[in-house]
Amino acid sequence: MSATPATAGTGARGRLTARHREWLLGYAVIVPAFAFVFGLILYPAVWGIYFAFTDKVIGRPEKFVGLTNFFWVLQWPDFGLMIVNTVVITVLAVGIKAIVGMTMALVLNEDIPFRSAARALMFLPWTVPSFVAGLIWRWLFDDQNGLFNWGLLNLGLIAAPIPWLGRPATAFMAIVVVLVWKGFPFFGISYLAGLQAISTELYEAAQVDGANAMQRFRHITIPGLQHVILITVLLSTIWTANTFDLPFILTGGGPGNATEVFTLLTYQLGIQNGRVGDAATVPIMAMPFFGALIVVLTRYMLSREEA
């Protein structure tokens, strides 16, 4: 009888068994990942939560102040407007991304000329760094030298440049447009992959039964993509609501506070004012919302795994 792994290598006292060596190696391999999660995510998060209950200012020792910071932040000028902005921008951007992404997937699923090239090109916005995307679009929207105003003026469609980023409504719309431009490929590629998994026989059978395009879309495509839609919408909601770079570059929260979102407020308090304690309270106030989304998403994904 050959030695089992549990007993192989067992010799004098203190020597590790093969299984123990296997375990050690396994732990050693996951240590970098654990260090990353702990060092870059867990540790700063715990400190952030702690700071929210202190009067921490950069370069000075902190003192515990309980809930004082939370009450102070709630009285921030236009705090309510900031929440509304965050919610509306998120809902609009995610909704439009889903629709545009779905259209992209349906189009790229058809047999069009240069389909492979089109698929690759349509994915490009997703690969552009957010900061770069923000700068390009800020340029395009610029009221003095922007491409949009130049084009519209030369076409005679407008008499004077439009201050896209200088008016509340257009500034708001500009942020949503850029969020959609940057994010729709994620939806598109996910839905395209999902579409490949739907059997063409279903469509053929439906066609034979006399179903039109809209009916096939409603009763075959949507149910077939249900899980992909849910996951992409939930993930994108979390990402979009947490967006900082695009609103920061495009409008900085302006004009006035018309496009202020909670990430910008965190930046203003923590980085511009150095008030780390106050800044930390803002994301903590948003935590229950994101926590709920993550719980829903995780439960859904786990239930699908079990199924």
Partner: protein, 52 residues
Amino acid sequence: MATRVATTTLHSQSLVRRKQLKKLLVSGVALVYLFVVLLPLYWMLRSSISEN
């Protein structure tokens, strides 16, 4: 019999026309998408290689 053949022919013609229209619409949408996607990227490239 002749009517049935005529109807079938008409039906096939309209099917072909619908397919062509669909292809045109789909290609048109794809082109619009590509334009919207590529214009800012073209602008970015242009700016990165110009002196000013």
